[in-house]
Symmetry: C2
Subunit: 178 residues, 2 copies
Amino acid sequence: MPVNLTDAELLLLGLVSEMPRHGYELEQVIETRGMREWTQVGFSSIYFVLGKLEKAGLVAAGRPRGAKARKTFRITPTGREVLCEQTIAALGSYRPTFSSLLLGMVHWHVLSRDAALNALEARLSSVAAEIERLERVRRQRQPMPDHVESLFDFSTGQLNAERSWINTTLDYMRAKPW
Amino acid sequence: MPVNLTDAELLLLGLVSEMPRHGYELEQVIETRGMREWTQVGFSSIYFVLGKLEKAGLVAAGRPRGAKARKTFRITPTGREVLCEQTIAALGSYRPTFSSLLLGMVHWHVLSRDAALNALEARLSSVAAEIERLERVRRQRQPMPDHVESLFDFSTGQLNAERSWINTTLDYMRAKPW
DNA sequence: GCTCATTATTCTAGTGCTAGAATATGCCGG
DNA sequence: CCGGCATATTCTAGCACTAGAATAATGAGC
């Protein structure tokens, strides 16, 4: 039976695999690790997805004694197997995604020279801001395992590539009469 | 009334703005421009989205005389306004997205050294294949407007950044005992 | 005129996610 | 012990999209 997890499912399954956790906690983990921005897993989706994972037998729920208002989830052996397999699949192949820059550039022709220049300049500062945000998050959490450190390198690498593309394009546009 | 288009809506609205088109034609345009990969707009969504745009008054439908089985859509003045505004918005701000690499790296700890190495090596060839695919598409369509050419530069820039990150990480992993 | 592939559209029954409201518990200070 | 804030979960209604089947017109070749 070839299981296929969605992004949100894989994310939460992995976080539960680190240690048993309850819904609210997952919410906070996502927040404090600065993952809110790219995961786009909404608050109310967490319980929903957790429910699906439970039905699929990948996690099991239990109430710790003495706590009525808290249901903790832990990963099952099947869940761990699926997690491995799906992590390998996620890492193993590149999947092109919808970038707002790509989308905008396709419709380039509808913009006036000024509007286009302004928009790209705005993006430049937006990208710069994101690079700074990453730097801040990175400095905040000193003792990070190597692979998390590495993750930041990846994101900033992508952002820097985008930044230099924007700069090149802006130079080109400013030099050209339009 | 602050309109807010989804990615698919903005994409199709923009394509219709280039010239009046019908559903099937849009399907082909997406295919031949090599946009299928990153837009992830499914075949059946086109008519669906077109219907929504029509209801919203951003495009208008008409049947050309003599053609019974074909409904062409053209952009309305309102549609053009919204398109401009939304294109500026899309270009103007960076939006972090779900990358399968990010997702996989978060769950790094569940993999054995070998599994992790293999997965990253697989990704390396997947990324290389995508770079080649882009080169192929690019060469196929000789007379491209500057801004389309530029789009390819962007995509390959992102891919090259990813490739060099993977190489660095692989070197690091191979050197380390784990 | 008939056949068949291609072109072209519509419909149904889903999936996956989400906003936001409603609800309930835990705990601390007064 | 009570009010109020933080913690924690559930539910409803709905959005955006999608797979895939059904249907129909068009055109090219026999």
